[in-house]
Symmetry: C2
Subunit: 225 residues, 2 copies
Amino acid sequence: MEQARTARGEQTRAAIFDAALALFRERGFEATTMRAIAERAGVSLGASYHHFPSKSHLVLGFYRHVHERHVAACEPLLQRERDLGARLRGVVRAVVMTCEPFHDVSASIFSTVADPSSPLNAFGEAAAGLRDDVIGLYARVVAGSDARLPEDIATELPRLLWLYQMGVLYFWMLDSSPGRLRTLEVVDETSDLIVRLLAVANLPPLRRSRQRLLGLVQSVARDVG
Amino acid sequence: MEQARTARGEQTRAAIFDAALALFRERGFEATTMRAIAERAGVSLGASYHHFPSKSHLVLGFYRHVHERHVAACEPLLQRERDLGARLRGVVRAVVMTCEPFHDVSASIFSTVADPSSPLNAFGEAAAGLRDDVIGLYARVVAGSDARLPEDIATELPRLLWLYQMGVLYFWMLDSSPGRLRTLEVVDETSDLIVRLLAVANLPPLRRSRQRLLGLVQSVARDVG
């Protein structure tokens, strides 16, 4: 009985979620109201607010959903592969493939992520839990690899890779190549380049600049995080 | 007579511009209508549309205005100074100081710049003229300096510095330090770091990665520009 009620709750939640995505796609994020979402889902406004107290909660639920699929998609690779370049390329490919079904709504939703005044801003508090989880995924990419990195790089690299993922997703949003294959090429090229730069970052001419750069990343992360 | 009419036109244009900024500040960019702007400016809706056919035109006019002030602020420094680090630091400081009076509206306006579906998107066609002008300003920063850079770097660096400027402005928008002095510190540190990295970019261990990175920047700029 309890289980049936929960399953019904999950169904309602999924219906609201699907309705919201459809409306974001048709009208854009800003123009979509909670009332319209409830109507489209065929549930009461009260039920909608019960599951998602605001549109922001819907969007965070959406990110959470995508992130969980992303992690699941990476799992076999992270278990199997030890090469840092291959791990990085695979995890970034996986986020592109996981987001791909949502390409036509991504721009509408993304406008709130980049907006510093939005509660959903990627650097803001509401997104902190999810941000930490994505950074945690990249910490696994680094820690489970056989690359031997200086400690300061190993510490800050996951956060830099999170920024890199956002850059790739921004490129993917703008990508108008057939099948968006250009995004996959850019992932191949950039992930390999990152690994090559890491390999030289410990050489004497770069060491001092690297330490300054990482110190800066750390302090800026404190400022805006 | 002709001159008086032009002066009156300029006044009307300025009144619409100021009204728009005030309303963006109070209500945000999305919620501000052309009708509300005309009312606040005390002009007819027709006159408003004559000067700015859409809100997008207003925002582009705003960017143009800020950019012209920015260039004027840089002029003495670009005439006087030959050191690349000092030129870069000065030009980025100047953009921060020029934008500072608009800090409280910047987030509202910026949300449209980052939105890939917006016609005002920084990588889009409507913004192309302004983007080229900002890149051109950084080309002057590089070309007028006494730094001897490899040709591939000298070619792509202005575009990378335009991206760097956008990054600094994004930090400035999020900066909640007293007086936003933290932004000026970050400008000092990052501009110096960029110049140091340029100094080592021609060393053998980095040369190949640098060439690949610049090739990638070039091809991505073609894709999204």
